[in-house]
């Protein structure tokens, strides 16, 4: 068994070594649930060639709520200027997921929100702590990611969205 472990590890190291780190990748294909019960595959996320922000959050995560509340105040202007769409992925499990819909409406957020109750999409995206935010370019490729939200994070985010909108390259971190 030990040998098998080594071999599998080698396969991975080799594969890892043979691809460049700054490679752009599509959104993985996982099923999530919309707030009106529709099953949606994440690989179908699209925004007519405009950038997409994917934000992982939870109802019990204070910085996540801060991030989404802060952005909601400027979201109409962001959309008008760049055509960006924010997709908020709740990682609440079935204990707290019942609070997602009333919270989203209670706070009058205008985002596309999906439930990822058993963390399938969270795992597929390698998210370990929330909030964790990804930027997807107009071609549907993930080009940037960031964890945590602090004062001013939203300004850095929109600056990158503007670059994407203008077709500029952005650093992966």
């Amino acid at each position: 068994m030990k040998v098998l472990h080594w071999i599998t590890m080698m396969i991975f190291l080799t594969l890892f070594g043979s691809f460049t780190a700054d490679q752009k990748s599509p959104i993985p294909s996982v099923d999530v649930k919309s707030l009106d019960g529709k099953i949606i595959n994440t690989s179908s996320f699209q925004n007519d060639g405009n950038p997409i922000i994917i934000s992982f959050w939870a109802t019990w995560c204070k910085p996540c709520i801060q991030e989404l509340t802060t952005i909601s105040e400027v979201y109409p202007e962001w959309q008008e200027e760049t055509g960006v769409k924010l997709i908020a992925i709740s990682v609440d499990n079935s204990r707290t997921s019942n609070a997602v819909l009333p919270l989203v409406n209670g706070k009058a957020w205008d985002y596309e929100v999906y439930l990822d109750e058993n963390s399938d999409f969270k795992r597929a995206m390698g998210v370990n702590v929330v909030p964790h935010t990804f930027l997807v370019n107009g071609k549907g490729e993930i080009v940037w990611q960031h964890t945590s939200f602090t004062e001013g994070s939203e300004l850095e985010l929109i600056a990158l969205v503007r670059k994407l909108k203008n077709g500029e390259e952005i650093p992966s971190h």
């Binding site: 080698m10 691809f19 995560c61 204990r95 009333p102 370990n128 964890t147």
Partner: protein, 548 residues
């Protein structure tokens, strides 16, 4: 030495072989992954009962990688607990590739072999999941097939469950179907009402070697669910049952189990609410009937209570009782619009939450049998009768208002009742506590903020009153926080204890590094722009997190 050399050569050849293989056969694809390391240097402290450990330093660490190429995916996770940090089960001790899988992810068909996670419905009869920071993983190890048609997903699986570095003894077989009626029936396609249906069956096989009892070797559990959405309204109902399954958690009774959950919601822009009612009776279902605690659960019946992110609000959390509980929960979110008298310049957010959990009604089956007697049918019950014992209640209200561009204030009040015997398993006075919290942000210039958090918990029971003060500074990715947690104790019973700690760190992209020193209670910690569960600690601790 010779052996090592040969081995390295072999590895080198293997590596080049796979390099070519990957380049030619697979033709591209991507690799992604993440890792986390937590290290803790322990210092002895007799006051808070912290022990120093023989190894002095403990590490919990994982490294996870996924390879995706079109429809093909493979992944693995290496884990290391050397030794596990305090607060984690000692059976985690060790290291190795704990999670490995290969997957074909086609348009209609998805096949996974190896380790995987799955949840049927809300998880009432099957949920496998992982919570790294809580030291929980009941991954399934076997084969899963999903077949997807328009509006219909059928899932079938055969597996054993992960049990630390081993597998549980029981074999789990499960099947689930999820239907979206609006997509399946053309007539309903454009209707405003959306209806979803689902059903599942799960069976556990475990040999009976009991010297005393004749036990069912195959235990079946079944569940059905229904959900309907129309404009601002929604309703969900889910019910499940399980055949007799004498086990360690129910004191070997032969009673069947059942559970039900009803949820009603109404929400529109600016206002949202949900009401829930749930009941569970003898529904503890595991892949080893001798297990208890956090070991090998198949069913997931969560606590129907709020999950709090402030340390003192989270001090007395409810422990869900899958073998008998009846609960209610109401959750209301409301935004007072800006410009109104109470709304302020930016609007005011209000959240009111109430949760109650009671015992279920139980009656002896006859005069010569006591309630819950082993080897019998246990007890008789009534679906709609509430038991006399209160297990838990939580009333809390949160008000948040942005006062100006620079100031943001949240206030919270909470009243909690906590049954000691049910939640902690020992005979002590039940806890009645009131908690007040003020959470203030001062964004004094762009990219810079100061955060003040003041919490007070007042109770006459358990360890008495607690106070907590935190000051946190954030500047772009950099953060630093000082936390002072103080327990007054109860005069004549326990002495006051201070838990001081400092924590600092830096985040860049999806990489994060943090360092703490001091005494810390276990619980949820939200600093530096993220929230995570942390173990009790005394001394230095370090955390590194990265995703790529």
């Amino acid at each position: 030495m010779k052996y090592i050399l040969r081995f390295s050569l072999l590895l080198f050849f293997l590596q080049s072989f796979f390099f070519n293989l990957s380049a030619q056969l697979l033709g591209g694809g991507e690799v992604h992954g993440s890792f986390q390391t937590d290290g803790q240097l322990y210092q002895k402290d007799s006051v808070i009962g912290a022990e120093s450990i023989a190894e002095k330093v403990a590490f919990n660490s994982f490294f996870e990688m996924r390879y995706i190429n079109k429809n093909f995916e493979a992944g693995m996770r290496y884990e290391l607990f050397m030794p596990p940090m305090q607060g984690y089960d000692v059976r985690w001790k060790g290291a190795g590739f704990a999670n490995k899988y290969v997957r074909y992810n086609g348009e209609k068909l998805e096949v996974t072999a190896g380790n995987f996670y799955e949840q049927f419905g809300s998880g009432m009869i099957l949920r496998s999941y992982q919570e790294w920071n809580l030291g929980f993983d009941n991954a399934l190890n076997g084969v899963r097939v999903k077949y997807k048609l328009k509006g219909l997903t059928i899932t079938g699986l055969v597996a054993k469950q992960r049990f630390y570095w081993d597998l549980g003894p029981g074999t789990i077989r499960g099947v689930d179907a999820q239907v979206s009626l609006n997509e399946v029936i053309d007539k309903l396609k454009d209707k405003k009402t959306r209806i979803g249906l689902g059903g599942s069956f799960v069976s556990r096989y475990q040999t009976d070697q009991d010297p005393l009892y004749v036990l069912p070797e195959n235990v079946g559990a079944f569940a059905g669910r229904f959900e309907i959405y129309r404009a601002a309204f929604n309703m969900k109902f889910e019910a499940s049952g399980k055949i007799n399954d004498p086990n360690a958690s129910n004191n070997m009774i032969y009673k069947n189990g059942n559970a039900a959950l009803l949820e009603l919601g109404y929400s529109k822009k600016g206002f949202g609410m949900t009401l829930q009612a749930a009941r569970a009776d003898n529904m503890d279902f595991r892949s080893n009937r001798a297990s208890s605690g956090f070991d090998l659960p198949i069913s997931y019946i969560p606590a129907m209570t709020a999950q709090h992110a402030y340390s003192l609000a989270a001090m007395y959390p409810y422990a869900s009782q899958a073998n008998g509980q009846m609960g209610l929960q109401a959750n209301i979110f409301y935004k007072i619009k800006k410009g109104k008298t109470l709304g302020g310049k930016y609007g005011t957010n209000i959240n009111i939450n109430y949760a109650l959990s009671q015992s279920i009604y139980k009656q002896a089956i006859n005069d010569s049998t006591y309630i819950g007697q082993n080897g019998t049918l246990g007890y008789e019950t009534d679906l709609f009768k509430i038991g006399e014992d209160r297990y838990y209640s939580d009333f809390n209200i949160k008000v948040q208002r942005k006062l100006s561009k620079k100031w943001d204030v949240s206030l919270m009040f909470m009243n909690v009742f906590y049954n000691m015997l049910i939640n902690e398993g020992h005979q002590e006075a039940d806890v009645h506590a009131n908690i007040g919290i003020a959470d203030i942000w001062w964004k004094y210039k762009p990219f810079n903020s100061l955060h003040f958090e003041i919490q007070e918990l007042v109770t006459q029971q358990d360890q008495g009153n607690w106070s907590s003060v935190m000051i946190e500074y954030n500047r772009k990715g950099l953060f630093a926080a000082v936390i002072a947690l103080y327990n007054q104790g109860i005069s004549g019973q326990s002495d006051p204890v201070l838990y001081p700690s400092v924590t600092t760190g830096y985040t860049q992209g999806a990489n994060r590094f943090s360092l703490s020193y001091g005494k810390q209670r276990e619980g949820i910690l939200c600093v530096g722009g993220v929230c995570r569960a942390v173990p009790a600690a005394n001394g230095f601790s370090i955390t590194i997190n990265s995703s790529f």
